[in-house]
């Protein structure tokens, strides 16, 4: 995945057009208002100071201290249950079908595979006209899968009829100006949310292919997005190579909150199942958790012996366990409250690129550069 980050492109056309409009707008402003860089930056400094003070004031305890009195999570009863062997190509992403049985995977050779995780059988294969398909996702109905990567596009396939070639019903929904790193269907089959190496996220209408909203704010490649689990589901988070985690309002397109702390690229972000906290995994070999209502980092999950980056994270169904897939071929399971590692899942023979909890929380799927998927339960 790292190899893709260095792919650079010209600034997005839409951006240039927007900037021109702003320039006009600015020219007017310069005459009418006395908004200067100095004034604005002085205000920014004041606001930063105020934010820092406020966060400090509310930082009355630490999570690890409060959690000390809780019982420890004893040995996790998780075993490797299935090995799904691909076509010798690096697996880059996986996602569970809402039926809790099928898994879609995407790989470096451009193959999209649909698996029956119960029987370990490959059911459908789609060949994409590109390599490095970095993202794939099931729609809520289970009828569609979206995917994309170095082709900068998000493409949708209808896989509802196993007798039919999915390529026959293929649709390009959106195009970014750099690789597409992540995608998901927010709440319905009608829309897709994507994140890209062009530092933006975008919401697309599946039917018309129109961009409904774009999200500008990151200054580096977006590597991961996740949708709020709350019923309204109008917010999402994004993690980027600019080391920031941003929280977005999907309706306005504005970022509402930002979290920093990581020392390197953020590769993965995930909402806590409560919806009140979010977590991230980074190349700095740590995972972190932030509380949205306290507006603050509340936990760091790290160990001196862990030196390699975190590529993908997910929570167990209660939120007590935070799983991380690492570049050192392992999956670490953290007690999210006590901030201690409770288990280490060995099995993969190369970097773990993507891990996903099944929709009912009974199993964890992992994808790896060793060209396989594994199911743990």
């Amino acid at each position: 995945m790292k190899d893709c980050k260095s792919y650079s492109v010209a600034p997005p056309l839409a951006d240039i057009a927007l900037r021109n409009i702003w320039n006009l707008d600015m020219a007017l402003d310069v005459n009418t208002r006395t908004e200067t860089v100095e004034l604005l930056s002085r205000e920014a400094d004041c606001l930063k100071h105020k934010l820092e003070e406020e966060r400090k004031k509310l930082n009355d305890v630490t999570l690890a201290n409060v959690a000390e009195r809780l019982e420890e999570v004893t040995f996790l009863n998780i075993k490797p249950r299935r090995l799904l062997k691909g076509n010798q190509a690096k697996m880059l992403c996986c996602d569970w079908s809402p039926d809790k049985r099928h898994i879609v995977s995407s790989s470096q050779d451009g193959k999209l595979l649909i698996w029956d995780a119960f029987t370990s059988a490959k059911e459908q294969t789609v060949t994409m006209p590109t390599t490095w398909v970095m993202a794939c996702a099931y729609s809520p109905s289970g009828n569609l899968v979206a995917c994309g990567g170095l082709d900068n596009k998000v493409t949708v396939f209808n896989i509802s009829n196993p007798e039919e070639d999915p390529s026959a019903k293929k649709k390009t929904v959106g195009t970014h100006t750099n690789f597409m790193s992540c995608c998901l269907f927010p709440n319905s089959d009608q829309q897709i949310l994507t994140g890209s190496g062009d530092a933006t996220a975008a919401l697309w209408d599946v039917e018309s292919g129109q961009m409904l909203q774009s999200f500008h704010g990151h200054t580096g490649d977006i590597m991961s997005i996740d949708l709020s689990p709350s019923e309204i589901g109008n917010t999402f988070i994004s993690g980027s190579c600019d080391k920031m985690l941003l929280l977005w309002d999907m309706r306005t397109g504005q970022s509402v909150q930002s979290f920093e702390g990581h020392l390197s690229d953020i590769n993965s972000v995930k909402y806590h199942p409560s919806g009140d906290a979010v977590a991230s995994g980074s190349d700095d070999s740590t995972c972190r958790m932030y509380d949205l209502r306290a507006d603050k980092e509340v936990a760091v999950y790290s160990k001196e012996s862990i030196l390699f980056g975190v590529n993908s994270i997910d929570f167990s169904v209660s939120g007590r366990i935070l799983f991380g897939g690492y570049t050192d071929y392992t999956i670490n399971a953290w007690d999210s409250l006590k901030c201690e590692r409770v288990s280490l899942l060995y099995g993969h023979e190369n970097r773990v690129t993507s891990i996903k909890l099944s929709p009912d929380g009974t199993a964890l799927a992992s994808a790896s550069w060793d060209a396989s998927l594994r199911v743990w339960a």
């Binding site: 205000e43 930063k48 930082n59 009355d60 809780l70 995780a117 119960f118 169904v317 939120g319």
Partner: protein, 70 residues
């Protein structure tokens, strides 16, 4: 001039973002943590990856019991 304008625009974006963030209502960390712990404690006993399954049959990924013929 273009440079100045883009600087101004950039600074304005930064300041506007900070204004929005400053307007966010915050609660003490202690309270936030209590709520997270409460949420988790109420669901831990049904977290299969933590506590396992009530019976192995409930696990859809269990190994099929093989009949060994001796």
């Amino acid at each position: 001039m273009d440079m100045m304008i883009s600087n101004l625009q950039q600074q304005r974006q930064i300041t506007e973002q900070l204004r929005r963030e400053a307007a966010v209502k915050r609660i003490p960390v202690s309270q936030a943590i209590q709520d997270i712990i409460k949420y988790i404690r109420e669901r831990e006993m049904e977290d299969c990856l933590m506590v396992g399954f009530s019976s192995q049959k409930a696990n859809p990924f269990r190994e099929k019991s093989s009949c060994a013929v001796i």
